[in-house]
């Protein structure tokens, strides 16, 4: 059974449909890279998958939950789907440990001791065990982003969604974060990641999806897709990245 299955979903703002019949199936342990021009609907698709946006048509099956137009109670779903944003969105008034422990404590009622141990574990996973007491504004962008990943991991999600998590970072910091994600991939996490880093998509993702004007224009195994793009749109999209 696929971990995530999008069945012909539609998402419209008024007359403008920014997702126009998307079908996608993601198997457990798949790492799917989503690429495409700005405005092609990548973020919107991700946001629909964990219910930050309502869909207008179709349905989404995800780790045993079903989202349809009008579905409202998404909390149980979100417990199992992590999401990391471009702008980190750490909570500035909480330190690293508190940021990480918050959701397990209040959403899952995990006892404090256990939440604390999980926090240390996930921090070690992202290589920041020593920053447990720091506040977000005391960290570099790359460190903040890794804490955000750790925060998601602490909920022990079955699927993780990443939305251009490195585009606000300079090249060096980008490296740190991509390394963390690659390790997660190696550990078998199911992931969908929107990215502008073609090289990374190619190396880490086993599948790549190219979006164009609200549709999935082309998709396939990453090697194949980058080596032999079929559509002229994809070809012109990846051209500058390849030279």
């Amino acid at each position: 059974m696929p971990a995530v299955q999008l069945n012909n979903i539609k998402k419209c703002y008024g007359a403008l449909c920014v997702l126009d019949g998307i079908n996608l199936s993601v198997e457990p342990r798949d790492v799917v890279a989503v690429i495409g021009q700005s405005g092609s609907g990548k973020s919107t698709m991700l946001r629909c998958i964990n219910g930050l946006e309502q869909i207008q048509g179709g349905s989404i099956d995800i780790v045993g939950h079903r989202i349809e137009p009008g579905t409202h109670s998404l909390r149980s779903l979100r417990k199992e789907v992590g999401m990391v944003f471009q702008s980190y969105n750490l909570f500035p008034h909480l330190n690293v440990a508190e940021n990480i422990m918050l959701a397990p404590r209040v959403v899952k009622n995990v006892p404090k001791q256990e939440a604390w141990e999980t926090a240390q574990m996930v921090l070690k996973q992202v290589g920041l065990a020593d920053k447990v007491g720091a506040y977000p504004d005391e960290l570099s962008g790359g460190q903040q982003q890794r804490v955000a990943i750790a925060r998601s991991l602490a909920m022990k999600p079955k699927v993780m969604l990443f939305d251009e998590v490195t585009s606000a970072l300079d090249p060096q910091l980008t490296g740190e974060v991509l390394k963390t994600i690659a390790e997660l991939a190696a550990a078998g996490m199911t992931m969908i990641l929107v990215t502008h880093e073609m090289g990374f998509a190619r190396q880490v993702a086993n599948r790549t999806v190219f979006m164009y004007k609200g549709q999935i224009w082309e998709e396939g195994r990453s090697e194949d897709l980058f080596a032999a793009p079929k559509t002229p749109e994809l070809r012109s999209f990846i051209a500058p990245n390849l030279k």
């Binding site: 964990n50 930050l52 909390r75 149980s76 979100r78 417990k79 992590g82 999401m83 944003f85 702008s87 969105n89 750490l90 909570f91 500035p92 008034h93 330190n95 440990a97 918050l102 959701a103 209040v106 959403v107 899952k108 001791q113 604390w116 240390q120 447990v132 007491g133 720091a134 506040y135 005391e138 925060r151 998601s152 909920m155």
Partner: protein
Amino acid sequence: MAYQMHFGPVLDRAPEFVDGTINTILLSGQGIVIGLAIGLAVAIIRVEGPRWLDQIAVAYIEIIRNTPLLVQVFLFFFGLPYIGLRLSADTSAIIAISFNLGAYSAEIFRAGFLAIPKSQIEAGLALGLTRLQTIRYVVIVPALKVVFPALTGQLTLTLLGSSVVCAISANELTLAASKVESLTFRSLETFLVAGAIYVTLTFVFRFTYWLISLWLFHRKDPARFQIAGALPHGQERVEA
């Protein structure tokens, strides 16, 4: 100056002033606690609530903010009995003060909420928090930090504004002062003393707000946090 000050007879009435001061603290203290609760609830309604509820909230806020507290006090005390709700002067005063502060603080809280980026709220939701949990754990503290100066300014106005409830014989400092004045006829001295007490009270209240802000916004020392947090993991530290 033709007039000779005599503070003696006024200061002989110190117990009355002490009583009045305590009552003013209790009155405005309760008004502040209830008023802030109302304000927070109304602000949440304004940000999150359905449209019809939002419109009621707006009407409440505008009516309160555009009429004098004194008139509101009169209405609560003399008016409510006409619809069968009889409240003591002190209760009416607390309610009037609370509703008054509620309207002002609602707008202040709302400004704070709007100052928090939408992405913070989405991050909370994406972690599986409910909207209310998101507000409780993610939004309130940073929002409060943004508006804390405005809020404490309003609370000072509430403390000082509580003096008008003497018009309905609610027990507080100004009423005590009037009583002393009518017994001693030393008006100027009486009101100078009352004024001095109010000034002192204001500074005491402000100091309290400052302490609260330390408690709310001051960061825990990371080093201390690590030690405290790591305590159950003694062996880990030894190992490291």
